[in-house]
């Protein structure tokens, strides 16, 4: 192509390659070689690339140093709002609770900064926390933060509608223990609201305990003051020493306990501080069971025993609920007495099973009672925080104790008794066998149902007139008359005194 042809401007060439001043073809020149006009040029990508690479590296370095040197803002729990989610914040407060889970390798700390509480969660971080806080070169070396310690924590807020605000602990370095709790030895009577969320050393005696669902409420008493020590099932299981666990549930045990004073429903209560640590509970003396009080039969209770605390075994025969108390009729060996159980004492019975046994008809119970009188009549009062031992429904004679034939009476209906005597008369019917037993001039009836009489008949010398037998069975009524009814063949045996 000739130069004149090149310098022509064909209509089909794009505008960018033509000089805007003289219209001649200039290609990629930045200045027209013909008229020296400056030409619009396209932005070179090379510049963009260099700016991108250098800018990003330099910018990242600047950003890194800015972040490292950034001061994290301290906020209060009460000021946390929804738009603070994911923000990096600093919080200062007192540890209200520490929960660790070795299986899940997690640690949860509840921090109270005076304006509210927030949960600090370290999932799969417990071992790192333990190592860090045990290392004296990195921290004070006294172990994990405990209740009452003052902490400063840095972390990203995690706010959810369901669980509220919390912080995920990503590193133990973000938890700074400003002050370890000084554990002061205090008397129960001296506790007040100002002492809330502080850890104390308390020496007290176990008065008793009761189980409430997933926790045990142990009543500690010291110098006539008492307070509840609440231990959750998991915390109780974390107590490694079996002796300590036993002492906590044994009345009269003397303990020296590290506790956190808290409150529940406006009532002061104690919680164990770090139950998994050996030194948090010391058993000064093991208590004795209250059941070491003397046992006494109902029939032996007399006026001169008023004021005594004794253990009685009897059968529940009736329950009457009155305002503020229950009157339970108990019976043993023909003697019936009233057992008064006030509502607060009923509530103090250690568990639901025991409470049910106390009010269930015909249940056999062993209880600790105080002998008293009311309007001239002897009565028994259940002692607070004592267990209700549950029998099998057998009588005190269920160990084989033989009772006089006169005991076979309508008042003993439903009870299992053991009698012995000579067979005076036998009559067989299609439905079973009826025996008349005689002993010391008294007689009693025994009925053997077909299922029992058939195998018994096969025992030589047993079902014959004159044989001396021992029979154990339930007292039933037939046509208004009481009789003993054994339930199995082995309940009737030949008896030699």
């Amino acid at each position: 192509m000739s130069s004149s042809e090149k310098n022509k401007s064909p209509e089909n060439l794009p505008q960018e390659v033509l000089c805007p001043s003289c219209g001649k073809f200039v290609g990629a020149y930045e200045r027209c070689p013909y008229c020296q006009a400056d030409l619009d040029n396209r932005f070179p990508l090379k510049i963009a690339r260099r700016v991108a690479v250098i800018g990003s590296i330099l910018g990242l370095i600047l950003l890194y140093f800015a972040s490292v040197n950034k001061r994290v803002e301290t906020i209060s729990v009460a000021s946390i709002e929804a738009n603070h989610n994911m923000a990096l914040v600093k919080l200062k407060g007192k540890v209200a609770d520490v929960k660790t889970n070795d299986q899940k390798n997690s640690i949860n700390i509840t921090l109270d900064d005076g304006t509210g509480r927030i949960k600090l969660s370290g999932f799969d971080k417990l071992d790192k926390f333990k190592r860090y806080f045990a290392d004296a070169t990195k921290s004070d070396g006294k172990g994990l933060p405990g209740a009452g310690d003052i902490l400063e924590v840095k972390g990203n807020l995690n706010i959810t509608d369901k669980w509220g605000a919390g912080i995920f602990l990503t590193s133990p370095k973000r938890v700074l223990i400003l002050k370890r709790s000084q554990i002061e030895k205090r008397n129960i009577a001296s506790f007040s609201d100002e002492d809330l969320n502080n850890v104390f050393l308390v020496q007290a005696r176990v008065k008793g305990y009761k189980e409430l669902g997933a926790l045990k409420s142990i009543v500690l008493v010291s110098n006539d003051s008492e307070i509840s020590l609440t231990i959750f099932k998991k915390e109780f299981e974390n107590i490694k020493d079996a002796k300590v666990r036993k002492a906590l549930l044994t009345p009269n045990s003397e303990l020296l306990v590290k506790v956190l004073l808290s409150e529940y429903q406006s009532k002061l209560q104690l919680r164990l501080s770090a139950p998994e640590k050996k030194d948090s509970i010391k058993v000064l003396s093991m208590g004795k069971k209250i059941s070491n009080h003397k046992k006494i039969a109902l029939k032996d209770i007399t006026q001169n025993k008023i004021g005594n605390i004794s253990i009685v075994t009897a059968t529940v025969k009736g329950v009457k609920k009155l305002n503020g108390l229950r009157i339970i009729k108990i019976s043993d060996l023909g003697k019936t007495m009233d057992l008064v159980v006030y509502d607060d004492i009923f509530d103090s019975i250690p568990n639901e099973k025991m409470r049910k046994a106390l009010t269930k008809m015909d249940s056999r119970i062993t209880v600790t009672v105080k002998i008293s009188e009311y309007k001239g009549a002897l009565q028994l009062a259940l002692v607070k925080l004592t267990p209700v031992l549950i029998g099998s429904g057998a009588t005190s004679a269920d160990a084989g104790e033989i009772v006089p034939l006169t005991e076979v009476s309508p008042s003993r209906a439903g009870e299992t008794l053991t009698i012995s005597g000579r067979i005076k008369a036998i009559s067989h019917t299609t439905k079973g066998s009826s025996l008349t037993i005689e002993s010391q001039g008294k007689i009693a009836s025994v009925w053997l149902g077909k299922r029992v009489s058939e195998p018994v008949k096969k025992i030589p010398g047993l079902l014959v007139k004159g044989a001396v037998v021992k029979v154990t069975g339930k007292v039933t009524l037939f046509q208004g008359r009481s009789q003993i009814q054994p339930s199995q063949a082995k309940d009737i045996i030949l008896w030699r005194k």
């Binding site: 700016v51 590296i57 990242l60 994290v72 906020i75 989610n85 994911m86 990096l88 590193s171």
Partner: protein, 442 residues
């Protein structure tokens, strides 16, 4: 909640989502953050029950309408960095409207796919989650390795020296790796010790994402002298039933991966699904991209409502979950309501997409798109500056430089997702604290 109130919030959310999705480079999560602040200010007047339908319909509308800036303005978000190329090709061939329609049909298929997958979501998905979640760290690590390695090899380069040929062949790959590494470091800094103020903590990551994805696109388009050719608005699209089936299948896999795996976007999910299914073609890319976008944005939020004994708190993830979790928790029974909201909003959004595409093309004939991009740049600066202050602007600028690397070196923009992938993977593996301690960020 009464039907009229539910309908009202759904329509309102669709409307808001429609309006704001038209802006190039403006992400719906930014809008959601602003909406949350407005809701907090007026929460005594707005019923709490309206939160879920409003935001769900907003995100559904975004999943559809976002196609318009993506296709016509070349402004992809983090979910669409793979599909932008076929869309641009269609646009330059005068078939931009068809590209938007195909993408919209894909999104519509995604909307209908979600209710059909309900039995899977409630019966099988929670079990999968139980099994997979303890292994998430190494799964994400594999995703990252795959993202990087799937770009290799690229073939031989051109040039008259060995160095020039090497540079030509491998330059963009190393640029991609550089973008990945720098994004990862940026992510570690931002997630462990953010510069953003406490009051805007929930928008910690906003300047980063705007910088990594929005600003480079704006800059790129401002530099570009490309003229959009005349577009033809057709009544039909080049699509067969077989392609619909294949796209739904591919997009479904990609979208589900993106909806479930943390920090994995629809773009990354589409790469994985595309390689897994070995299906190729521009139509497939466009349509499966639409399916994946709906599953990614809408599905991730819908998973929050899968309340089962194995998943009592739902299985949701994603930016909208993070923004809303302080004020909202799902109840059993909400899932069905959300399905209704998705269906209604999705169908409306599809119709709006077609209409809006036509209007946009008419507008583009009269208005230079550079003007729109200058406005978009101004808008993002105002949003970032207004919400997060100078610290946010600084972070945005740094992120923009990093995000510009794949743009100008022709590498994969999805490599910038290392900003979340790396910190999340490290934290899940239990090494996040170690790394940040090493960097002095503790």
């Amino acid at each position: 909640m009464s039907f009229s109130l539910l309908l009202g919030f759904t329509l309102a959310g669709t409307g808001v989502g429609f309006l704001f999705s038209l802006f190039p480079s403006l992400h719906i999560y930014n809008v959601a953050g602003i909406a949350l602040l407005i809701w907090q200010a007026f929460q005594s007047y707005i019923p709490a029950d309206g939160v879920a339908p409003f935001f769900m319909s907003m995100i559904v509308a975004f999943a559809f309408i976002n196609t318009i800036p993506m296709t016509f303005f070349g402004a992809p978000d983090e979910s669409a960095t793979v599909t932008i190329l076929p869309g641009s090709k269609y646009l330059m061939n005068g078939r931009g409207y068809e590209a938007a329609a195909i993408c919209g049909i894909g999104s519509l298929c995604g909307v209908f796919l979600l209710p059909l997958m309900t039995p899977f979501f409630f019966k099988i998905f929670p079990v999968i989650h139980r099994v997979v979640s303890p292994h998430m760290a190494w799964i994400l690590l594999l995703v990252m390795i795959y993202m990087l390695m799937s770009e290799w090899p690229k073939g031989c380069g051109m040039g008259d020296t060995v160095w020039k040929r090497f540079k030509h062949a491998w330059g963009n790959l190393f640029a991609g790796i550089l973008a990945f590494v720098l994004s990862g470091i940026l992510g570690l800094i931002i997630t462990s010790k953010s510069m953003i103020s406490v009051e805007m903590g929930f928008q910690n990551i906003m300047p980063v994402f705007i910088g990594l994805f929005a600003v480079p696109s704006i800059v790129q388009n401002l530099i570009s002298k490309e003229k959009i050719p005349d577009q033809h608005i057709s009544d039909t699209v080049e699509l067969t039933w077989r392609q619909i089936g294949q796209s739904t299948f591919q997009g479904g896999i990609g979208g589900m991966l993106a909806a479930y795996l943390p920090a994995v976007t629809a773009g990354i999910g589409s790469i994985l699904a595309g390689h897994a299914t070995a299906l190729r073609g521009d139509v497939l890319f466009l349509m499966s991209g639409g399916v994946a976008k709906v599953l990614y944005y809408v599905g991730a939020f819908l998973f929050l409502f899968i309340v089962t004994p194995l998943s009592p708190g739902g299985l949701g993830k994603g930016g909208l979950n993070v923004i809303l979790k302080p004020i909202f928790s799902p109840e059993p029974g909400d899932y069905t309501i959300m399905l209704g909201v998705i269906l209604l909003s999705g169908c409306l959004s599809f119709l709006l997409l077609l209409k809006a595409s036509k209007l946009t093309l008419k507008l583009l004939k009269k208005v230079d798109y550079h003007t729109l991009y200058w406005f978009a740049m101004f808008l993002v600066m105002v949003i970032v500056g207004g919400l997060t202050g100078s610290a946010g602007i600084f972070v945005m600028v740094v992120s923009s430089c990093i995000g510009s690397i794949p743009v100008f070196f022709h590498a994969r923009r999805s490599n910038c997702m290392a900003v979340l992938l790396v910190p999340i993977c490290l934290n899940m593996a239990g090494y996040g604290g170690v790394v940040t301690s090493f960097l002095g960020l503790n």
